[in-house]
């Protein structure tokens, strides 16, 4: 088990009223599992990721993590720092966590070669294409060697081909290293192609309306998932 969420509720306390964003969310993430969270935009998917990464507090419920839990977060945009070279951008997370060592530098070198960025390691992000920039952001996350990848509508700025390629890369990586991932998306096809399990969230206040485990190749999951989403829209 990587983490278990029980009866999680999150409210935003505004001047005149409280808005409930997440309501009674229960979710377990297991080792080597990819979970896709589907829901309409603004339903609280990103809020859930922020809470899992402890960057946002919640009002009630519990979250239990495995010992030495370590996550890697990928935002919608690559968020590369314009004043750092590709290599330094890749090392940013490690540098802040003070975890740079010989082994990590070797791993960085291998990753730069693997993602065809070796020739650009001393370039600045301005000189890279959108796809290359996202690969730098990916390497930055991979180097953290997380138990759990948290992907918030990743690569949404990229074209279909580039996006698919990167998502496949991540999927392969997770399989190799037996890591886990939660991906937040509104793209049903993407969710089905990547995930072992799909969680469908309702509109605000978001609660889980359906949890679907994708373990039967005979079921048309696309139609199934879409039927639940249609109800919500």
């Amino acid at each position: 088990m990587i983490l278990t969420i029980k009866d999680l509720t999150k409210q935003y306390h505004l001047k005149n009223n409280d808005i409930t964003v997440l309501e009674n969310i229960c979710l377990t993430v297991n080792e080597h599992e990819v979970i896709a969270i589907l829901g309409t935009s603004g339903c609280g998917k990103s809020t859930l990721l922020s809470i899992i990464s402890s960057l946002l507090n919640y009002d009630s419920g519990t979250i239990k993590y495995k010992d030495h839990f370590n996550y890697g977060y990928m935002l919608q945009k690559d968020m590369l720092l314009p004043y750092l070279t590709v290599k330094e951008n890749c090392l940013l997370g490690l540098r802040i966590k003070k975890q740079i060592n010989e082994e990590k530098l070797k791993q960085l070198d291998d990753l730069l070669i693997k993602y065809h960025l070796k020739n650009y390691e001393d370039s600045y992000p301005d000189n890279l294409s959108g796809g290359m920039r996202q690969r730098v952001a990916l390497i930055r996350t991979i180097l953290l060697d997380p138990d759990l990848y948290l992907l918030d509508e990743p690569f949404s700025a990229l074209d279909y081909q580039n996006k698919k390629m990167l998502l496949n890369d991540i999927k392969k990586l997770i399989d190799e290293k037996h890591q886990s991932m939660i991906i937040v998306t509104h793209d049903v096809n993407e969710a089905i192609s990547l995930a072992n399990r799909i969680i469908i969230l309702s509109n605000k206040p978001a609660h889980i309306i359906k949890e679907i485990t994708l373990d039967n190749p005979d079921i048309d999951y696309l139609t199934l998932v879409e039927s639940y989403i249609k109800d919500e829209v």
């Binding site: 990464s53 960057l55 968020m79 720092l81 314009p82 940013l92 540098r95």
Partner: protein
């Protein structure tokens, strides 16, 4: 295009000087009030030999450099404090806007009483003018840093110091450096204003002195030297900027 513009500018300046001289020589303008290019050249030469012109330039330059450097340090530190202690930032922000819109020369008499009729008052005057604008510029850029960058840093368990030193200052570095350019112009305004009010030396003093003895040649010479000085300072700071940005 660039060459054409330059040539036109040179022709413009030369024809202005020539017509000024002709108008003065023919008596169409009163050269006692409007001076003339030849009178300005002789007056400047005279100032250089008899009135320690170099010393006056040195005084103004000295005050400007001190106020400029102090201004950079103070505005940078205050911006950091306002950013890190956001409560203080929120409290101070409207006051800064109010002080910024106040013509600082109005505070002159008060400054003289508090700090005395000396160089201190001139530097305080210049600081009042350059610091406020610089703080507003730097602080605004700090608080407008893309929130997603800060979020990213937090996912790496970054401390407040990490976020300040590795993100906020670095990503806003171009704005900080650009504020030097505004700062140098503001500083010179402050120094001359201060010299008008209290000084015993400096280019501001020279101009006021020229007015008091009704010698317009000295006044205009002073102004022309001031134009040259301010251009040189701006040129130096501009190149310093370019050099700093490249690093």
């Amino acid at each position: 295009m660039k060459f054409k513009v330059l040539i036109t500018q040179i022709i413009l300046v030369i024809s202005f000087i020539i017509s000024w001289q002709i108008l003065a020589n023919t008596g169409l303008i009163n050269s006692f009030i409007f001076s003339s290019p030849t009178k300005i050249i002789t007056t400047t030469y005279d100032l250089l030999i008899n009135a320690k012109l170099i010393y006056h330039i040195y005084i103004t330059l000295n005050e400007t450099i001190i106020a400029f450097l102090l201004g950079i340090i103070i505005s940078f530190l205050v911006s950091i404090i306002m950013y890190e202690l956001r409560f203080i930032g929120n409290v101070l922000e409207p006051f800064l806007t109010i002080i910024n819109s106040l013509p600082k020369v109005a505070l002159g008499p008060m400054i003289i009483i508090w700090f005395g009729a000396n160089t201190k008052s001139i530097i305080v005057m210049a600081l009042l003018i350059n610091v406020i604008v610089s703080i507003i510029t730097i602080y605004t850029s700090f608080i407008n840093t893309d929130k997603d960058y800060i979020f990213l840093f937090k996912t790496f368990n970054a401390t407040k110091l990490d976020i300040l030193t590795k993100l906020i200052i670095k990503i806003n570095y171009p704005t900080i450096v650009a504020s030097f350019k505004i700062n140098i112009a503001m500083t010179l305004i402050g120094v001359i204003m201060g010299e008008f009010l209290v000084s015993k030396a400096g280019l501001g003093y020279l101009i006021i002195y020229g007015m008091q003895i009704f010698n317009l040649n000295i006044v205009i010479s002073g102004i022309i030297i001031l134009i040259g000085l301010s251009y040189i300072l701006y040129y130096l700071v501009n190149n310093l900027n370019k050099w700093l940005i490249k690093r």
